[in-house]
């Protein structure tokens, strides 16, 4: 092998990389907050929601979980404009991530809710809590605590999956890498560097979610 690895381009390309990192971080933060919120709403529908809404949510969850993220992204960005719904690349990327995470987190949270003993609902009702109050305080919070590790890994998976949004020209880290390697013709080195950045981002995100878990659920699980 006569090829010499060369990382001399790194310093000049730093601003582009940093911008890419910023966009990727921004995408996953927004995606995680709204995605989990969507997941909680869907889990509520499937546990206690109106009957007519349940099949709708079930269909949504199955459709998203059984199609690739790339196709969901293309459908939102290229397909929806023919219905008159247009949006920028970043909005489309964010929307796709939210919709995707929403479906997965719905399933995860639902599993946590199903592990709640029936008596807890009744206990909540006997304390004169409204169904919504019972859901929030008695069911949801312990359920979230139970499934927090699974939810965290799903968020990390969505973050790694977000590399794909470069394909609709959302300027994330992968987009930055593609841009840089088209300038310096050092494809392998560029992708090695961006892969390592993803690795660091993923482990930082894991740490962040773990600390968030300790903050949100300071008490030990009741069971």
């Amino acid at each position: 092998m006569t090829y010499q690895l060369d990382f001399g381009w790194l310093i000049g390309s730093l601003p582009v990389l940093l911008k890419g990192i910023r966009i990727t971080v921004q995408l996953i933060l927004i995606g995680a907050v709204f995605g989990v919120a969507l997941g909680i709403s869907c889990a509520w529908v499937r546990a206690l929601g109106p009957k007519w809404l349940k099949p709708v949510v079930a269909t949504y969850v199955e459709l998203i979980r059984n199609t690739p993220f790339l196709i969901q992204l293309f459908f939102i960005f290229f397909g929806l404009p023919s219905l008159g719904i247009r949006m920028s690349e970043l909005t489309a990327a964010n929307l796709a991530m939210i919709v995707n995470l929403g479906a997965y987190s719905c399933e995860i949270i639902r599993a946590g809710i199903q592990a709640t003993p029936r008596g807890q609902f009744e206990a909540g009702a006997s304390l004169a809590m409204t169904p919504l109050q019972t859901f929030w305080h008695v069911v949801l919070v312990p359920a979230l605590q139970r499934i927090w590790p699974a939810l965290s890994s799903q968020i990390v998976i969505v973050m790694l999956g977000s590399a794909v949004v470069s394909q609709i020209a959302a300027e994330d880290l992968t987009f930055a890498a593609n841009f840089i390697q088209s300038r310096n013709f050092r494809a392998f080195e560029t992708y090695i560097v961006s892969t390592l950045i993803y690795l660091v981002l993923a482990s930082l995100l894991r740490q962040l979610l773990a600390s968030l878990g300790w903050m949100l659920f300071p008490r030990k699980a009741s069971r």
């Binding site: 092998m1 006569t2 090829y3 199955e62 459709l63 979980r65 059984n66 199609t67 690739p68 993220f69 790339l70 196709i71 969901q72 293309f74 459908f75 290229f78 397909g79 929806l80 404009p81 023919s82 219905l83 399933e107 995860i108 599993a111 499934i147 699974a150 890994s153 799903q154 990390v156 790694l160 999956g161 977000s162 590399a163 794909v164 394909q167 992968t174 890498a177 494809a187 392998f188 992708y191 090695i192 961006s194 892969t195 993803y198 690795l199 993923a202 482990s203």
Partner: protein
């Protein structure tokens, strides 16, 4: 300009879907073999192979599949060979699948109670015999539902190979869109074909899980 009927679109997509199926099968089988090797390194007694296998798994689970595809595509090229997209796609997907399967299976082997190891050791069985007659038959039963469940991720993972230029279902979707200017129909159909491939797998994973009555696992 040629007009494309709905049937033309569907036919072309279905033809391309064959490659999605082939690539999924190759990745899954290849990944299974490499994954099994990783598993034995991971749960074996020696320290360095264990750490190596763990590092491998963390590396592949902590980086985007897309980056792995790019690295396979451009990295193999460094050796002076002209890398066709299908080769890079197979290599990256096999290595990626292996990391996840090894980790799933490790969970299954470790779920076997410690007493089983001790009981079989007390019968004078060696490591290989313990594995062959006691641990693996039980672990296999636990492993079936999550493994089938993960095959869905493999099928969905193959969509990314379109980005390095392998013509499978997703790439065909882009090509057909460029020819017909009907992204809504085309990507809708592409999504439905993927759904038709993945949903039976997801469902059978759920059914197997219920049937074999093992603890719930998210994947």
């Amino acid at each position: 300009m040629t007009e494309f009927s709905f049937w033309d679109i569907l036919r072309n997509l279905l033809l391309a879907a064959r490659w999605t199926v082939v690539l999924s099968l190759v990745s899954f089988i290849g990944g299974g073999i490499v994954g099994a090797a990783l598993l034995f390194l991971r749960i074996g007694g020696r320290r360095w192979p264990r750490l190596l296998s763990r590092g491998y798994i963390q590396l592949f689970q902590g980086t985007p599949l897309l980056m792995q595809l790019f690295l396979a595509f451009f990295g193999l090229g460094l050796f002076g060979i002209d890398v066709p997209a299908w080769l890079a796609a197979c290599v990256a997907l096999i290595l990626w699948t292996a990391a996840f399967l090894a980790e799933i299976w490790r969970g299954c082997v470790e779920s076997i109670a410690k007493g089983q190891w001790e009981a079989s050791a007390s019968l004078g069985m060696g490591y290989l015999q313990q594995m062959r007659y006691v641990i693996l038959p039980q672990a296999l039963k636990v492993a079936v539902p999550p493994t089938v469940g993960f095959s869905v991720q493999v099928v969905k993972g193959t969509a990314l190979t379109s980005i390095i230029g392998f013509v499978e279902l997703s790439k065909a979707g882009s090509i057909v869109t460029n020819a017909t200017f009907q992204p809504f129909t085309v990507y809708g159909l592409v999504a439905l074909i993927y759904f038709a491939l993945c949903w039976p797998l997801s469902k059978s994973s759920q059914l197997l899980e219920r049937k074999l009555n093992v603890a719930h696992r998210n994947h």
